[in-house]
């Protein structure tokens, strides 16, 4: 297994290199001069040039890339010309918030999603099934910023039960968690339903039942374990997504996460922060994927490392 993980890690190097080159070129292809934008309208021409020099934008593209890679090799992501803070510090200040929100919302989405999915699969086309699938359809299609605002208006402004936005106590976490969980919850519950339904038709389920096992054991031990592979895949992908892609939720609830940092930096053409954040999230993606592949083996005896 150690060999397998080492191999996967080695394979991730070209992926990350590709990400680095892509993001490096992409931020530079977007129209808008970072020096002009970050200096602001009232800045002097000399200041605009100074920021251009700070970002090495006065040098040819290959030289810029070389300098970026040189710093990166030393583990230095650079400093933001906008806030003057090291990029690692900018990411660090948001990482905890993003991770906490990702875990709570994925936990909520997985627990409820798997539960409703299994119940729906066990009693397909029942009232519960139809209702659950309808609700999850609404969940997938509801715009998050609208849902979030409705949550705030109801639970904070009207009822005064929960804080409207920001961080602080665990209560601050409730609304963004529920809001962010809706889409993955709907996906997980639909995925669980179809996977369990499919597995329930397999021969080994018939065998298990024929052995006289109670239905509860058939579902929990035999069906669910095998149905879990696609579910885990979805959960894993959502992990990466929610880490950097929860921008809308973060905006509505003023939640200081990585998504907002990235979007703010893109809008300000803050190249070092954009590059650093994208690279960081890409690394997370790669690790989560490796972790999930390892998990497959424990869940499904048919999957082997080689």
């Amino acid at each position: 297994m150690g060999v397998y993980i080492a191999k996967r890690l080695l394979m991730s190097i070209p992926v990350l290199l590709g990400v680095i080159i892509l993001v490096f070129l992409m931020v530079r292809m977007v129209p808008g001069d970072p020096a002009v934008v970050m200096a602001g309208e009232q800045a002097t021409a000399e200041q605009v040039d100074a920021i251009r020099a700070e970002l090495h934008l006065d040098k040819p593209l290959p030289v810029q890339f070389g300098l970026f890679m040189h710093d990166l090799a030393k583990g230095d992501l650079g400093r933001s010309p906008r806030t003057h803070a090291p990029v690692s510090e900018e990411i660090g200040a948001r990482l905890g918030n993003s991770v906490v929100l990702m875990f709570t919302s994925l936990l909520l989405a997985t627990v409820i999603g798997v539960a409703t999915g299994v119940i729906s699969a066990v009693k397909p086309y029942s009232l519960f099934d139809s209702l659950a699938m309808l609700v999850s359809l609404i969940g997938v299609s509801m715009p998050v910023f609208w849902l979030g605002l409705m949550f705030i208006l109801l639970f904070s402004v009207q009822l005064g039960l929960l804080p409207a936005a920001g961080t602080g106590t665990w209560l601050h976490l409730v609304l963004p968690t529920v809001c962010l969980a809706t889409v993955p919850l709907a996906m997980i519950s639909r995925m669980t339903r179809s996977c369990v339904l499919e597995v329930m038709g397999q021969d080994y389920i018939r065998t298990a039942r024929a052995k006289g096992l109670p239905e509860r054991v058939v579902i929990a031990v035999h069906a669910l374990k095998n149905a879990f592979i696609p579910i885990i895949t979805v959960v894993g992908l959502q992990m990466g997504n929610l880490l950097g892609g929860a921008v809308l939720t973060e905006n509505v609830f003023a939640w200081p996460g990585l998504g907002r940092l990235m979007v703010d930096s893109i809008l300000a053409r803050d190249y070092p922060v954009v590059q650093g954040t994208v690279l960081f999230i890409a690394v997370c993606f790669v690790f989560i994927n490796i972790l999930i592949d390892v998990l497959y083996v424990y869940l499904d005896a048919r999957v082997r490392f080689d």
């Binding site: 009232q42 806030t83 003057h84 803070a85 009232l127 907002r260 703010d264």
Partner: protein, 518 residues
């Protein structure tokens, strides 16, 4: 069993909804508060006052640091760290008597040496000072004695005193600069009424009262600034009691919020002027008659009342009323007939085609604004096409030099940090300020205006300045390099029982005098 759970969930949801409709019940217990939570639209970038250029950052640094002079609640220049000042008759030498007994929060004593250090740091090309234009008139700083400092300018500059009130010209502790180096922006040390207690980037900045503050002690012990990007969320935070002051309230919410008994809404003039720049090199717009026609074609009052819901004021001069020395020269009235007549005189009885470029989300209702202007122009036969651009791309686009400029008619705004007319008229209308370096984006050039604006800057006799600027304002209005539109109003909302908050026209808040009413 499962059905029961589902039913229970539905029942709970209905109960929640029902009680929600029963009326808000978010009243907090009436304990004596000594803190304020301010929700701003964007985050603070940096707290090195010399490096900042954004208003949210300036609002914060103005509570940590002191400038030599400042604006009071009536927008007059008043002493702060400088107690008195005098300029030489030629306006080139400024002598400041400094306040005694002022200490930075790290114990450093404030004196003439400190002023010299700060001004020299502001002028140092190695230090990133975005608003260096607010100080680079200084040639030399001399320490006369412990509490007297003399600044010698490169040329006579009348608005110099006003410039010293800019948040970017605040006094930093020299010891802290030496200690923290590049990280001074995260470890600010000033002499102001508050100091930083905690800063969680992107989340909150907590200021606590500076107990050693030389001036009147603030009544409020803790001020928390939170970046809340969503306009509606800021409103909800105020209504739910999670924020005490919110800025940038959307104009459409003004009426509704004014009816809320727990909320005080302040709508006041700001110095942000909004206008459509015309590229005078354009084949049609180079003719002043065409530019005047465009001014006659647009109904400014209707824009202010209809689109901005009253959160603006149609301008009647290139300079705003709040700025010295404003002169009312009279706006172009809404007169489409006259517009058509002028277009016919210029040789375009059937109009022509134009492209309007504009940003979105930058100025109040910017998109609806240009859509209205497109309609007004259509009325007089000008077929304008709208091109929306994201701000960063837009700013780069309009800041191209004349030979590369593809601009025709485009929306801009200007909101200087000082209330001297120089910072409005000079950068926007003098021919030496063409892009890429300057802000005269339409390439407007009138030698007489150039001379008048230069005179207004260099003479220190107030009456002469007023005369020069007055004449310049008349000429600019007549030349019509812009479609003159309006100045924005800023809407700030706060808890009803919060008193003493000062809202300055430069879109800044002063909270040192704030207190909770009993």
């Amino acid at each position: 069993m499962k059905k029961w759970i589902a039913l229970l969930v539905v029942a709970v949801m209905f109960a929640a909804l029902a009680s929600g409709c029963g009326g808000g019940s978010s009243q907090k217990p009436a304990a004596v508060k000594d803190s304020i939570v301010v929700a701003q639209g964007t985050d603070i970038e940096d707290l090195d006052p010399h490096g900042i250029a954004s208003t949210p950052s300036a609002i914060v640094t103005e509570h940590i640091f002191d400038t030599l002079v400042t604006l009071d609640k009536d927008f007059k220049i008043v002493p702060r760290l400088a107690e008195s000042w005098q300029s030489s008759p030629d306006g080139k030498e400024w002598t400041f008597k400094l306040r005694k007994g002022v200490k930075f929060t790290d114990g450093t004593v404030f004196n003439a040496q400190v002023v010299k250090f700060n001004i020299e740091r502001l002028l140092d090309p190695k230090v990133k000072v975005l608003l260096r234009g607010y100080i680079d008139q200084v040639a030399k700083v001399e320490v006369v004695d412990e509490y007297t400092v003399k600044m010698i300018l490169k040329y006579p500059h009348a608005p110099f005193l006003a410039r010293l009130s800019s948040a970017s010209n605040a006094m930093l502790s020299p010891a802290a600069v030496a200690k923290y180096g590049a990280d001074i922006g995260r470890n600010p040390v000033g002499t102001g009424p508050y100091k930083v207690k905690e800063w969680v980037r992107g989340d909150k900045l907590v200021l606590e009262r500076n107990e050693e503050y030389w001036g009147a002690k603030p009544a409020i012990k803790t001020v928390v600034f939170k970046p809340v990007p969503d306009n509606n969320t800021r409103l909800a935070m105020l209504e739910a009691g999670d924020a005490d002051i919110i800025v940038r309230v959307p104009p459409v919410e003004y009426d509704r919020l004014s009816k809320n008994a727990n909320v005080k809404v302040v709508r006041s003039n700001s110095t942000r002027e909004i206008y459509m720049v015309m590229n005078v090199n354009n084949q049609y717009l180079k003719d002043p008659r065409v530019r005047q026609a465009l001014n006659y074609a647009v109904n400014k009052e209707e824009i202010v009342n209809g689109i901005l819901k009253g959160a603006g004021k149609a301008v009647d001069s290139p300079l705003l009323q709040e700025m010295f020395p404003y002169k009312k020269v009279g706006a172009y009235e809404f007169n489409p007939t006259k517009a058509k007549q002028l277009l016919a005189e210029a040789g375009y009885p059937n109009g022509f085609k134009l492209t309007i470029h504009h940003p979105v989300g930058r100025y109040l209702e910017d998109k609806r604004l240009v859509e209205a202007i497109q309609g007004y122009l259509k009325n007089v036969g000008i077929d304008a096409e709208l091109k929306t651009m994201e701000w960063a791309a837009y700013l780069t686009f309009v800041r191209k030099p004349a030979d590369q400029a593809e601009t025709q008619l485009f929306l801009m705004g200007w909101g200087p940090w000082i209330l001297d007319g120089d910072q409005m008229l000079y950068p926007l209308f003098v021919s030496g300020e063409f892009p890429p370096g300057g802000n005269n984006y339409g390439f407007y050039k009138n030698d007489e205006v150039d001379a008048l604006l230069k005179k207004g800057t260099s003479t220190t006799v107030e009456k002469d300045r007023a005369d020069a600027y007055g004449k310049a304002q008349e000429l600019i209005m007549k030349d019509a390099p812009w479609i003159f539109l309006h100045s924005e109003m800023q809407i700030v909302a706060m808890k009803k029982n919060l008193d003493g908050v000062v809202v300055l026209p430069i879109e800044q808040l002063r909270l040192a005098g704030a207190k909770w009413a009993q």
